[in-house]
Amino acid sequence: MFSSSPIIAGLDIGTSKICAVIGELTDQGGLNIIGLGQCRSRGVRKGEIVNPSAAAEDIRNAIVEAEQTADAEVRSVYLGVTGAHMRGFNNRGFHPVPSDDREITEEDVQDAIRNAKAINLSSENRVVHLIRQHFLIDGQEGISNPVGMFGARVEVDVHVVHGNFNRLQNSIRAVRGLQLDVEDIVFSGLASALALLTNQQKEMGSLVIDLGSGSTEYVVYADGIIKHTGVLAVGGDHVSNDLAYGLKIPLGRAEQVKIDHGSALCDESCQGQTLKLSNEFGVAEKTVNLEHLRRIMSLRLEEIFELIAQELDTAGMLTYLREGIFLCGGGARIPGIERLAAQVFGLPVAIGSATCVSGLKSALNQPEFATAIGLARYGSFQARKRHSEKNSIGTHFKKTLSQMFGR
């Protein structure tokens, strides 16, 4: 029956391409990727929709392709959102335990969380994620579940991701316009991290950098919880734009040159070399200096990493990253990008692959599908949560899940 193996779709509306992933829940509770669709994106800039009609058409194409490969019909999607307007920060809520015996009950915990939710956001901003980190009882840190413990004061740390309501609505509207339901919106960086990181990596401390074409998202996991999230509205598009400006070639050509000859590092080997660019008829028309090309690219990419490193340094996050850095997104395909990141951060760097899900092998180890796969994975958590709620068994399981996401 259709309902017995529900399908879960993740939709990532990216700046250069739109990617849809369809997964199904396995009996063991895992996720199996059965369908994949992608389409060139034309209506998106810096991660946000600027041309709704073009974006809607592209979304439809991506979904249709995914439906065909999966042989299933998508009714609702988990939608990835990003953009310069999104911010993450940590907040703390506390609650004094009123009962005489000072035993902490579920209600006390809920009250503490409610207090943590009372964030002074300006009216146009909405909370996208409120993720429980850990509890403190009378100042004692590192408690994961305080129910049943004793104390006078429960505090809870949460990580809040928020964004501009109207701008979030833009992408939701585009999807709803195609008669598709949006189950939930998920911050793209968070989705990528879910796809790439194993529990051990989350525990040890990892940084996931999603080098998209319109924006770069980064998420820090440590001790199994989300410590830090952020977006930088700079990405591969900027690299192409820099090349077009610096080498004085059209943007489309710059894009192609970046893919064919680009590198994140500018070493001696390219010194003095030139590239002959030919037009669509195969006639050579322009010569560009390979060294210039790589220098422009490497400066831009280095700057992206530096900005992230600065931000994480001020937040005191760099010491947590014992497992290292994982790159995904189209930018992870740039040759030498790991070495550049390793130079900037001084940490081990690897290209991430979706290890926690099974299914289409062609999709799983491609860094640019990480966000969409992560969205489906997020969906699978939600579906299982709902499932266990419906059967009213496994309340403990439910609790751990809701603890992970606090939603």
Partner: protein, 427 residues
């Protein structure tokens, strides 16, 4: 320092309620201390904490030593009781600033009465009011709204500062005390700016009549901001700073304004090029508004440039009780399409020669005014769209990001290629 460089103008300040008192107290530390000022509050304990010499306790018998308790009616009655003292203070003043924070009982209740008394004493009453933060709750917000309406009716002009707009300035960790202090500071700056504008001997004079014509009847949407800059490029920087101010919603209010009062104060070294540069930039931002400018010289401003702007936006509901005679805004009316204005202007005053007059007179005058406003609003909005950004001296095309929101990180525009910003030469 000479309090009023313009000898014919006597300016006095009245702070009403807690916020008003705090602002007056803060002004004591500045050169405005020389202006005669007064604090009026219903709360005797609050009055005690201010060291200001002239204080009036409102409603002594009514409040039984307490404040107004957020009740505007009590605040109103209390102010009526103290009518004589206030009238005495207002005597032989030309311009009275009534400074208050709306939302509480004294601000909402007493301030309109005091403004009225000031007007009855033949002064011009100019009110500066803060509106409460959103977190102060719906009741205070509603009360503030009513208070603002009363204030508009009672005074000649109202300039208000919604505190909420300032949340953009604060970061997450701003203490509440600082938030209110900053709000008061801004209002104090506003008082200063306006006072300077009106009293400094100017190269180009602005008098109260101008101010009056700008803020009257459109007060709900009046906003002010001021900025100061030093150094070589001060003429450019000062406008940039002003436009960056959240009080103008990043310059949006400038674009939307219908009237703009600009005051520029500089040292003796202020050149005509400076004035020109500032005005040119402002005009570009606010190409659809009626700009009135003043420029003044003050020795203390040697090497500095201080710019104060009051922007008024036509609101959809015309202020109740203040008649809006035809032709109050000739500048904007003449800018609208010939046809549109004729449509409404023609029928009422002179029933022309034609028998086939458009059926406009059927609507009430208010509705017609409202409609006309909306009509004149539309082309302005459309015109405001292709807003020209400030041009850098070194023009770097941003390529495909030309039209998208710039990515600014610590003052750097990340859309500009990194190698250009870092000055790496490609040879």
């Amino acid at each position: 320092m000479n309090t009023s460089a313009n000898p014919r103008l006597t300016v006095k300040l009245i702070g009403v309620g807690g916020a008003g008192g705090n602002i007056i107290q803060q002004l004591q530390a500045t050169d405005l201390a020389a202006l005669p000022s007064m604090i009026a509050d219903t709360n005797p304990r609050a009055l005690d904490q201010w060291t200001h010499p002239v204080k009036v306790l409102l409603g002594e018998g009514r409040t039984r030593g307490l404040g107004s308790g957020g009740d505007p009616e009590l605040g109103r009655q209390a102010a009526e009781d103290a009518c004589a003292a206030i009238a005495e203070f207002c005597k032989d003043a030309d311009l009275i600033f009534v400074v208050t924070g709306l939302g509480g009982g004294t601000g909402c209740g007493a301030a309109p009465v005091i403004a009225r008394i000031a007007r009855e004493a033949n002064c011009l009453a100019l009110c500066l009011a803060t509106l409460p933060f959103e977190f102060e709750g719906a009741r205070r917000r509603d009360q503030a709204r009513t208070g603002l309406r009363d204030l508009r009716l009672a005074s000649d002009a109202v300039i208000c500062l919604p505190n909420q707009r300032m949340t953009a300035i604060f970061d997450q960790n701003t203490p509440v005390v600082d938030a209110f202090k900053l709000a008061n500071n801004l209002l104090a700056q506003g008082v200063r700016g306006i006072w300077q504008m009106l009293t400094r001997p100017g190269l180009v004079n602005v008098d109260f009549a101008y101010l009056y014509s700008v803020v009257r009847g459109k007060n709900a949407e009046s906003a002010f901001a001021s900025a100061e800059a030093f150094g070589e490029l001060r003429a450019r920087d000062v406008v940039e700073k002003l436009i960056g101010s959240p009080l103008l919603e990043e310059g949006q209010l400038l674009t939307q304004s219908t009237d703009l009062l600009v005051s520029l104060v500089g040292g003796a070294d202020m050149t005509i090029a400076d004035v020109n540069k500032v005005m040119e930039q402002l005009q570009r931002r606010a190409e659809h508004s009626n700009i009135i400018m003043g420029a003044a010289i003050d020795e203390a401003f040697e090497g500095r440039l201080c710019l104060t702007v009051i922007a008024a936006r036509q609101v959809s509901e015309p202020a109740v009780g203040i008649p809006q005679p035809r032709g109050t805004r000739p500048a904007t009316a003449s800018k609208t399409d010939e046809f549109e204005t004729n449509f409404f202007e023609a029928p009422a005053p002179t029933r022309g020669s034609s028998r086939y007059v458009a059926p406009a007179p059927e609507t009430t005058p208010e509705a017609a005014a409202d409609f006309l406003q909306r009509q004149s609003g539309r082309p302005r909005k459309a015109g405001a769209k292709p807003k020209q950004q400030t041009l850098n001296l070194e023009i770097v095309s941003k390529g495909r990001f030309e039209k998208s929101e710039p990515t600014i990180h610590r003052g750097e525009d990340l859309d500009v290629p990194t190698y250009v910003r870092r000055g790496v030469a490609l040879n």
